[in-house]
Amino acid sequence: MNYSNTIKTSFISIPENESLARVICASFISQLDPTIEELTDVKTAVSEAVTNSIVHGYSSKGNGMIFMDCTIENECFTVEIKDNGKGIEDIEKAMEPMYTSCPEAERSGMGFTVMETFMDSVKVNSVVGVGTKVTMKKVIKSKLL
């Protein structure tokens, strides 16, 4: 069976929208009947990327837009989280486990590592002064399709 679905969302960069983004993605993939673990994995990875846009991209100023688009192609879930924030200078360094640009805020530098562990693939595009786009994919081993 061939199945596809897409949603496009955008919301302002305030911490209240972290849980909103998680709930949207969880609801969206629920049509594939994911396991509890798959749901938790997706919610956690989405939370990391959205939090990064709020905290780093827009420096916690709450005045930016975050764009979150979700697609299902058969059993593959793709989520793209984009901000027009400050961008990342050195993506490779940013993605190293334990690297954080703000240790004083008690960030652990594990966000990208969590995304890579919990999803099948993570791709980061970023331009300084323009913004950052994180694209993540995960196959949901659905019993429905």
């Binding site: 972290e18 673990e37 938790t40 805020a105 008690e106 652990s108 969590v114 919990f118």
Partner: protein, 110 residues
């Protein structure tokens, strides 16, 4: 997210209910630190049994409390690791530095 503190004989227990993300991490940190500096001689137990979600902001807040408590020679423990937090605790390496217990009683007494 809801925080409740209880005082056992030799320990302060902080029970976290609900979701731990960036939005709530600051609140957890502030309230935890008030208790930690008021009762520096007591063991600090973080009860995660009622946590339904945790991301790396939770790792940051737990490691931050670990560092604060270690800085004056105190003790910290975690209890009630469930399926919502197990995987992230595992990958974060927290298990290697903070002892984990099934129940609050075990965490207080061991």
């Amino acid at each position: 997210m809801k925080l409740t503190f209880s005082s056992e004989k030799n320990a302060t227990v902080m029970k976290i209910c609900g979701e731990i993300d960036h939005r709530y991490a600051i609140q957890i940190r502030n309230e935890a630190d008030k208790k930690i500096v008021t009762y520096p001689d007591k063991k600090f137990v973080i009860d995660l049994s009622e946590v339904s979600f945790m991301d790396s902001s939770g790792i940051g807040v737990i490691i931050g409390r670990y560092k604060l408590i270690k800085s004056f020679g105190g003790e910290i423990a975690i209890s009630g690791v469930n399926s919502a937090v197990g995987k992230i605790l595992e990958m974060s390496g927290i298990k290697k530095i903070i002892p984990l217990f099934d129940t609050v009683e075990d965490a207080v007494n061991n």
